[in-house]
């Protein structure tokens, strides 16, 4: 009879049973779904929560009919969480996404096309002022998100260590970098190039590997006449793996870096701040952390830091144009109000006030950003950064490639497998991604 009861429950359907079950629990507090005027939910994933809240308060004041709730999702989980929510229509109205997510989320029906809204009320100085619009536009030509902020990676240096090691000019090629790292280690005993060599699914090796391929005129994914294919061969992969492995083998990058995947890992930030690491590669926000850590520990002293382009960065453009976009959920009940918020968030004052860790994605604003002397290298590199292009347009899923590349490099660098085997395996796996979608 228990079974009869059970099947009966299941038969009624989940909704009914939960509903009945929860009558007693209905008195427990939940999130109030206030119906008064219009309540938007804005999911903003960066750490400036307090500053952003203050900006939103100003927005609410200027738009009395709109209330904005702020929420945050860790970047690592933001992508799959939003897709999950979109499938059932339980989404925030405005979402903060990475450049390369816009297309897939739009095409999956999770983000609303913005064309009509843009046409009615163009943002900023018009759409052409925004960079990386190619990444925001789906195959059907519809715009699914508005680029909000941008950054790229650049090399960062401890000038005092470079001086001690006799490195006079900042490296401009991969070989220069190799030599500089070796010199620093040989002359000072410190870590030369302290790059994160860990193999987590969203690790940094993905960027380093691609920078290296790009500087050689290659790319993991290439496009020709709308046909996408793998653009590196085994020799390229082996070459790149061996290049980075040589740092670890020689010891100028310690083996412990194999356990560090994140570009903002405290090991790296602290290493730069306390002068045990001479050279790093990272986005500007992380570099600022290192400078801040140095200043906190050495008040009053000038920070001995410099940034510079990545190897061959300004000649062939070998860093990625990263950044964040703002999208409006396809299931938002208030797209017009949401668009109003998106426009507000693109106001120049936001980038000088609430949200300073990233640079605006509008060309006109980007020109007037004061990068300061330390971030000069980032400013220089940013004008030469390239978008992911075919990587994002083709049938190869970025997240999977990122994961596979990190794993393969991690396996090769740690000695889990031979470089040869890891390179071969990577190409096989990437090849399978094309068939899989």
């Amino acid at each position: 009879m228990i079974f009869k009861h059970l099947t009966a429950c299941l038969g009624i359907g989940a909704r009914g049973v939960i509903g009945a079950l929860m009558v007693g629990a209905a008195l427990l507090p939940g999130v109030a779904q206030a119906a008064d005027p219009v309540t938007l939910t804005f999911r903003f994933n960066d750490p400036e929560q307090k500053e952003m809240r203050a900006a939103l308060d100003a927005f609410e004041k200027a738009n009395p009919g709109i209330k904005v709730n702020l929420e945050r999702m860790a970047w690592k989980d933001a992508r799959d969480q939003f897709l999950r929510e979109a499938a059932v229509g339980e989404t925030p109205d405005v979402v903060h996404i990475a450049f390369v997510w816009a297309k897939e989320m739009g095409e999956a029906g999770a983000l609303a096309p913005l064309d009509a809204l843009i046409k009615a009320k163009p943002p900023g100085k018009g759409l052409s002022d925004f960079i990386a619009m190619d990444l925001a536009t789906g195959k059907n030509g519809k715009v699914y998100a508005l680029p909000w902020t941008t950054d790229t990676w650049a090399m960062v240096y401890r000038t005092d260590l470079l001086d001690q090691a006799g490195v006079k000019t900042l490296p401009t090629t991969w070989d220069d970098l190799r030599q500089a790292s070796r010199d620093v280690h040989a002359k000072t005993g410190k870590t030369g190039f302290g790059f994160p060599a860990g193999s987590a699914s969203s690790g940094s090796l993905w960027f380093l590997a691609n920078y290296n391929w790009w500087s050689n005129g290659k790319a993991l994914i290439v496009e020709k006449d709308k046909t996408f294919s793998v653009g590196v061969d085994k020799a390229d992969v082996v070459g790149t793996m061996n290049y980075f492995k040589s740092y670890l083998d020689n010891g100028d990058t310690p083996k412990s870096m194999l356990g560090v995947s994140d570009w903002a890992d405290p090991v790296i930030i602290r290493g730069l701040a306390d002068g045990t690491i001479a050279i790093g590669i990272m986005p500007p926000a992380s570099f600022r952390e290192a400078i801040n850590a140095y200043t906190a520990a050495n008040p009053g002293k000038a920070a001995p830091f410099k940034s510079g382009p990545v190897p061959k960065g300004t000649t062939v453009g070998t860093s990625h144009l990263g950044g964040r976009m703002l999208g409006i959920s396809a299931t938002s009940k208030h797209p017009e109000e949401a668009w109003k918020l998106v426009q507000f968030l693109n106001d120049p004052s936001i980038f000088t006030g609430a949200y300073k860790s990233q640079f605006p994605a509008q060309r006109s604003l980007l020109q007037s950003v004061d990068f300061g002397p330390e971030l000069k290298g980032f400013a220089e590199q940013l004008t030469h950064a390239r978008t992911w292009g075919p990587y994002a347009e083709g049938p190869y899923a970025m997240g999977s490639m990122w994961n596979l590349t990190g794993r393969a490099f991690g396996a090769a660098l740690s000695g889990q497998t031979s470089v040869d085997a890891a390179a071969g395996d990577l190409l096989t796996q990437i090849g399978k991604l094309n068939a899989g979608r």
Binding site: M1, I2, H5, L6, C9, L10, A14, V17, I18, L21, D80, L83, R84, A86, A87, V88, E104, E107, A108, G109, G198, S199, A200, S201, G203, P254, K255, S256, M257, L258, G259, V260, S261, V267, R270, A397, G399, S400, W402, N403, G406, R407, A408, G410, A411, A412, L413, S414, G415, Q416, T417, A422
Partner: protein
């Protein structure tokens, strides 16, 4: 009896309804998904039925062997064994008359609680800092003692990564074992030892013939419950090593995560989940055959 029947329904009903909704239904749904090519991008439209293709791919994948090895041997068998041995050692030491005499037992029990009260997420963060090279506390100590000449990257070195992960798991979970065994030790009747002493039994004889048999049921129950928890655990490996270096510490649970939420292949992830549940069900069957049956018969 009609009254009993109503009573049973009322008493058992709520638990079964909650379990049916929050376990049975998702499990059935998961089983269905495992026969499809559902992806996260197509969650709204649903996947195509592809029969056993996901299972076939998983079973024939060259990765599967190592995944099984990592999950069974490293993550589960060794960590549970170490946990039990260490838990037993802690319990025995805390239970020695000397420690009781010096009134240190209460202090010890409070100390044992500390790791247990630490959520795994926190435990992993702390241990990552302690195991860090070159400045982590463990490296500093080992260097100062002259036991090593160069710092060891515990979570990055192929030789040390598994022992390190196991250390984290054990630190966080040994309190349960230690406290349970301590409680059992206290329940061993003192006259058993006295009788043995009169017979001139050595201390090791007393341990093997009195203490251990008395603890055995607890050890078996704790061991097997720990196996369930550890086998299915995703957090320790994922947050400590991200399944790296390379795929060196990848286990079944992290593989599910990578397939489902990095590659977006929900169908494939679901299939691995079903395989894991089946493995545990077989394991559970033998569990009840070996020790549970007696207990169930007595209890039920």
């Amino acid at each position: 009896m009609r009254g009993d029947r109503l009573f049973i329904t009322v008493m058992l009903g709520p638990a079964l309804i909650i379990l049916a909704l929050f376990y049975l239904w998702p499990m059935v749904e998961n089983l269905r998904v495992s026969f499809t090519d559902l992806t996260l991008l197509r969650l709204r439209v649903g996947g195509q039925w592809i029969g056993l293709a996901n299972y076939e791919e998983f079973i024939t994948s060259p990765e599967t062997g190592r995944l099984m090895m990592n999950t069974f041997i490293w993550l589960t068998a060794i960590s549970v064994a170490v946990r039990l041995l260490l838990g037993l050692a802690i319990a025995l030491i805390v239970n020695t008359p000397l420690v009781r005499h010096l009134r240190l037992a209460t202090l010890a029990r409070i100390a044992i609680l500390v790791p247990w009260a630490t959520p795994p997420v926190v435990a992993i963060i702390i241990w990552r800092w302690l195991l860090e090279a070159p400045n982590g506390a463990l490296n500093s100590v080992l260097l100062a003692l002259g036991l090593i000449d160069t710092p060891i990257a515990f979570l990055a070195d192929l030789r040390t990564v598994w022992p390190s992960v196991i250390a984290i798991v054990v630190w966080n979970t040994v309190p349960l074992i230690a406290l349970s065994l301590l409680a059992s030790l206290q329940a061993v009747p003192a006259d058993l030892y006295e009788a043995a002493e009169l017979d001139g039994a050595t201390r090791s004889a007393k341990f093997w013939h009195i203490t251990l048999p008395f603890l055995k049921p607890t050890i078996v129950v704790l061991g097997l419950t720990s196996v369930f928890w550890t086998f299915n655990n995703f957090v320790y490996v994922w947050l400590a090593t991200g399944a790296g270096p390379g795929t060196f510490t990848n286990v079944l649970a992290t593989e599910i995560y990578i397939r489902s939420f990095v590659d977006f292949r929900l169908g494939y992830g679901a299939a691995i989940g079903i395989v894991m549940a089946l493995i545990m069900a077989v394991f559970g069957y033998f569990y009840f055959r070996m020790i549970g049956r007696r207990q169930i018969e007595e209890v039920l």
